[in-house]
């Protein structure tokens, strides 16, 4: 990923923080320090952390609580697993002082927190687009059938420290309808656009189609790429990068993005362009920070904590697209 794209994604999430309800937003100074001091932190992760922070603030929860929810991996285990992990979402080993702080914090919190023993590392995300290059299209059913590729999150987790009150509780929110549809454990597909990773629940996935001939139709918004024929129907193609971060979508960025697939939104003929498909993973509802207020981004259901990326509220997104609204347009 080029530096300019990194900066763009970073700036984009910084901008997302500047919402009306940002007065409640608490940005952890630690996260800023990590970005500056640790060059290994990927920008997408940083952006997702910022986004996560913003959402936590919207939920009226403090960042400190969020920090407590993060899994604290014992140093020994971390050392032994640091090398084989290729996962870009995995937090790199930071400096020793922060480890000492974590250990000290763990000791302090030991009486009030339950430790949860699990087997192994967090779900590993690998770019699988080269593997599935041959796949022209597959429906959500097909995706759900590909069980071997789905990594059981529960089977591969490190020791976790979680406050008792957090387990199994999801706050009432604008995503209530989405949460009702989802099982406690549900599958999500991760896909990438210009360095930004997004997740879509498989129940909301209409299918995946390879980008072929897109017909441009004049007089449409800049984010509307055109239409593509698919099974004797027309798919409306969204330039995802232009829609999600229009203020950062420069000509340079537009030239650098290389859309390969269309992520079809269930119950509509809308397709989101993406550069690569990352993985399909089974996660638990409690692994998502669900948004409690629609704010300016009703299309964003929340943030997947472990992978640090936004999860889409497809129904709200489709409503916005049907209304011809851009990312920053108001539904009212």
């Amino acid at each position: 990923m080029s530096k300019s794209v990194d900066e763009t994604v970073f700036d984009f999430f910084a901008l997302l923080l500047q919402e009306d309800d940002d007065s409640n937003c608490i940005v952890s100074p630690q996260s800023t320090i990590n970005v500056e001091s640790n060059r290994n932190v990927t920008i997408s992760q940083t952006a997702a952390v910022l986004l996560d922070t913003a959402i936590l603030a919207e939920n009226g929860r403090s960042v400190a609580l969020h920090d407590l929810e993060k899994p604290v991996v014992p140093k020994k285990q971390l050392q032994s697993k640091a090398l084989p992990i290729k996962n870009e979402f995995t937090t790199p080993v930071s400096d020793m002082s922060s480890q000492v702080n974590k250990q000290a914090l763990e000791k302090l919190l030991a009486p009030v927190l339950k430790t949860k023993q699990n087997d192994s590392a967090p779900p590993e995300l690998e770019v699988v687009s080269p593997i599935i290059e041959d796949i022209v299209q597959f429906t959500a059913k097909t995706v759900s059938n590909v069980q071997p590729t789905i990594i059981e999150a529960d089977d591969k987790q490190d020791i976790k420290l979680e406050p008792e009150t957090q387990v199994g509780i999801t706050p009432p929110s604008v995503t209530k309808d989405l949460q009702e549809v989802l099982d406690d454990e549900f599958q999500v597909l991760f896909f990438k656009v210009a360095g930004l990773t997004l997740a879509v629940p498989l129940v909301s996935l209409g299918g995946i189609v390879k980008v072929e001939r897109i017909n441009h139709i004049f007089g449409r918004p800049a984010w509307f790429l055109g239409v593509q024929a698919h099974r004797e129907e027309q798919l409306n193609i969204v330039d995802t990068c232009a829609w999600v971060m229009p203020e950062k979508y420069t000509d340079k960025l537009a030239q650098s993005v290389d859309y390969q697939y269309l992520v079809l939104l269930e119950g509509s003929n809308w397709g989101l362009t993406c550069e690569s498909l990352v993985n399909a993973v089974k996660i638990n509802k409690s692994q998502v920070n669900w948004r409690s207020q629609a704010g300016k981004r009703p299309w964003l259901a929340g943030v997947v904590k472990e992978q640090m990326c936004g999860i889409l509220h497809v129904q709200a997104l489709v409503e916005m697209l049907n209304a011809g609204l851009g990312c920053q347009d108001s539904m009212g």
Binding site: N215, I217, F218, R220, V227, A229
Partner: protein, 164 residues
């Protein structure tokens, strides 16, 4: 019984009338206009510019003694300008009781489309030019964008053309 079937078939065919469309190319996309509104297709000839004309007017041509205003279709549709070449054509059309020419990249063919084969264009257009499109049709995996020539210009703009 047979008469009833014939009546039903005729009614169905009336509902699903076959329309002819002249297709032309602009910026690698195919557009269609109602054949009934097309008078003739001309090779590109020199177009005399008109000072003070609207941005979408290329100029005027002399068509057998009649002055015909030529519209820059690319400009009107908000597309990037392109150089004139051997395939460039001026399509003479009649719309809103006026005869005008539209400059296109090339003229392709006449196609037959059933009304049922025409779909609505994606309704996400906010720009004024979005209203020019009356529908789309998928033919041989190629999208045909059907243009409503009567809406190519607003009432005021049609009047303005007569006063050039």
């Amino acid at each position: 019984m047979k008469d009833t079937r014939n009546v039903a078939a005729v009614a169905a065919s009336k509902d699903d009338a076959v329309l002819q469309w002249v297709t032309f190319k602009l910026d690698h996309e195919t557009y269609g206009i109602n054949v009934m509104q097309v008078q003739e297709v001309l090779r590109y000839t020199e177009i005399a510019p008109v000072p003070g004309a609207p941005y979408y007017v290329v100029g005027i041509i002399n068509l057998r003694g009649n002055v015909v205003t030529v519209i820059d279709t690319r400009s009107r549709f908000g597309l990037q300008p392109a150089e004139v070449d051997d395939s460039t054509r001026i399509v003479i059309i009649e719309a809103e009781k006026q005869v005008i020419g539209i400059l296109v990249d090339s003229v392709a063919e006449v196609v037959y489309l059933r009304r049922s084969e025409i779909d609505n264009a994606p309704n996400v257009g906010t720009e004024e030019s979005a209203k020019f499109i009356q529908g789309v049709s998928n033919r041989d995996n190629e999208l045909l964008i059907l243009v409503d020539l009567d809406k190519l210009l607003s009432d005021e703009e049609w009047v303005e053309l007569t006063q050039l």
